[in-house]
């Protein structure tokens, strides 16, 4: 479904991503793990066209998307849940969800999908008319995830969904991520929490200093001594 070849990202003269290759098959959940500064977020930002790649190709469902305008990506079927959540703080929960459905025009289905999101996250329903900026980090993460789902994407890109959240919130968020994935959603999950990411995914890629150094089935990576030493603190 997603095919990345030779992707490079540079800030000025500094190469953050040095020509990486990876792919995500349809219906698959893949983790991209690595330490802080390894280039994971830069990779996602380049995929979502928030950054211009310095080189390489990104094909989504057979089509080259690395030159698309950033706002065209949603219509192509990709939704990114950005690092730090990026909800619109001065818009209500409902309005944030409506923004997720910005590219859709099927009013009734949008209303039904909002109810569906409220079903996944009852907490959001309780606060439907509240400004998003007044919510806790975990609630904002729920909202960001719900908002991404509102576009009815074919693929979800998740950037550090566990960052800065209380363990109970992380659990709740990942429960929903698993549910969504089990319903057939293709997911690329970027996480610093390698254990959690690999336990949730089918396959994984390990990124180090802008390069992919290791790849394989999530279960194999979890038991790999190098991964255990570097990312699982053993």
């Amino acid at each position: 479904m997603l095919e990345v070849t030779g992707l490079r990202v540079a800030y000025g003269g500094i190469q953050a991503v040095r020509g990486i290759n990876f792919h995500v098959a349809e219906g698959e959940m893949v983790a991209l793990i690595g330490a802080n500064g390894a280039g994971k977020t830069s990779t996602l930002k380049a995929l979502a066209r928030l950054l211009n790649a310095a080189g390489g190709s990104v094909r989504f469902r057979g089509e080259e998307i690395s030159k698309l305008a950033p706002h065209a990506l949603v219509s192509a079927g990709i939704a990114l849940v950005p690092e730090g959540r990026g909800v619109f703080p001065r818009m209500s929960i409902v309005e944030n969800l409506q923004m997720g459905a910005y590219c859709r025009s099927d009013k009734d289905a949008i209303a039904a999908d909002i109810e569906h999101i409220f079903g996944l996250f009852p907490r959001l329903k309780e606060r439907a008319r509240q400004m998003a900026g007044t919510m806790s980090g975990g609630e904002q993460q729920m909202l960001a995830l719900g908002r991404a789902l509102m576009s009815r994407p074919k693929m979800l890109l998740l950037d550090e969904p566990s960052m800065g959240l209380a363990p109970i919130m992380v659990q709740k968020i990942f429960e929903v991520i698993r549910t969504v994935a089990s319903e057939g959603m293709t997911v690329l999950l970027v996480e610093q929490n390698a254990k959690l990411a690999l336990e949730t995914s089918q396959r994984g890629y390990v990124m180090e200093s802008g390069e992919i150094t290791l790849t394989g089935d999530a279960a194999d990576l979890l038991s790999d001594p190098k991964v255990r030493a570097a990312y699982l603190g053993e």
């Binding site: 706002h71 950005p82 619109f88 703080p89 001065r90 923004m99 900026g133 806790s136 576009s151």
Partner: protein, 307 residues
């Protein structure tokens, strides 16, 4: 008492016009953090185009109100095109430049437009022909003209319309989302360049109406009229809290009232030492006070952003 009521009426009329212009400043500031100092010139162009068209129609035998409406209908698209072009030509290339660059450019655009207007319409004052029916109403011993009633009513309608557009529609949501965080708005599929263009176009249409109102109410237009009017509307936007639509409306009305009452009573208060031609002092005195004591404006407060 009658003078007080009269000044209140004058202040509301002036304030309605300030509010319409201030909305243009505040919308652009809200969405891209830019103070579009050329906005006053768009008001001037609106007044000039309307006057030109009305003067062309003078011999046509059409009723005065119809001529005025045709003049206004001509001014709106010209101003929309001007606003669109200003953003496209002057500001868009500087989207990622340091903040000072577009600000200086805005002043440059303002000077360019003034000079173009001077070349097109000359240096002289243009009189608004007496085509509008002069109906006067008596309110508590004060007088309000039909034109003034129309100005207040139209300005109110436009402000209500804009508020509904921004708060209730998909386009309005996209505008607010772009104002809050343009990259996240793009992630939602919002073409932020298009939203920014539309913001300029909508602001410019308000400016066109305001320009028409100024020339109709004071019966005069001039290539330089946009400068001081623009500065005052900017003051109104800052008074209300720049970036905030309700603030711009409130700031506009308040500034109109302050100016009008100030000009009405400054003579008495200073024993005749200062006259009503010191009217302009009040706006800038207010600007200084706001910047010193409440830079965020009257209603410009931020929702707490936790986490």
């Amino acid at each position: 008492m009658d003078i007080f009521i009269q000044q209140i009426i004058n202040g509301l009329v002036l304030g309605s016009i300030y509010a319409l212009v201030a909305l243009g400043y505040t919308m652009v500031y809200g969405i891209m953090g830019l103070i579009n100092f050329a906005h006053g010139e768009v008001v001037m162009i609106g007044a000039m185009v309307a006057l030109t068209v009305i003067n062309l129609l003078l011999g046509s035998g059409l009723p005065g109100v119809v001529m005025a409406l045709i003049g206004l209908a001509a001014a709106v698209p010209v101003c929309m095109a001007t606003g669109f072009a200003i953003e496209r030509i002057a500001y868009r290339p500087l989207r990622n430049a340091p903040k000072l660059a577009p600000l200086i450019t805005a002043i440059g655009v303002s000077i360019v437009l003034q000079n173009v207007a001077m070349l097109v319409w000359g240096r002289n004052y243009h009189a608004f022909p007496p085509i509008l029916p002069s109906v006067d109403f008596e309110v508590f011993e004060a007088t309000i003209t039909g034109v003034q009633v129309a100005i207040i009513a139209i300005a109110a309608l436009m402000m209500i319309g804009l508020t509904l557009l921004v708060q209730r529609t998909r386009l309005g949501r996209a505008m607010r989302a772009t104002a809050e965080n343009p990259s996240i708005a793009q992630l939602m599929g919002v073409d932020t360049n298009r939203i920014i263009s539309l913001t300029f176009v909508i602001g410019s249409s308000l400016a066109a109406v305001a320009g028409f109102m100024v020339s109709a109410n004071y019966s005069i237009a001039h290539y330089y009229m946009g400068f001081i009017l623009g500065l005052k509307a900017f003051t109104a936007a800052v008074l209300g809290g720049i970036g905030n639509l309700a603030g711009a409306m409130l700031g506009g009305i308040l500034l109109g009232l302050i100016e009008s009452l100030g000009a009405g009573y400054i003579g008495d208060l200073t024993g005749g030492f200062l006259g009503s031609h010191y009217q302009d002092v009040f706006a800038f005195f207010v600007l200084i006070l706001v910047l010193v004591f409440r830079p965020s404006g009257l209603v410009g407060e931020k929702v707490a952003e936790r986490a």
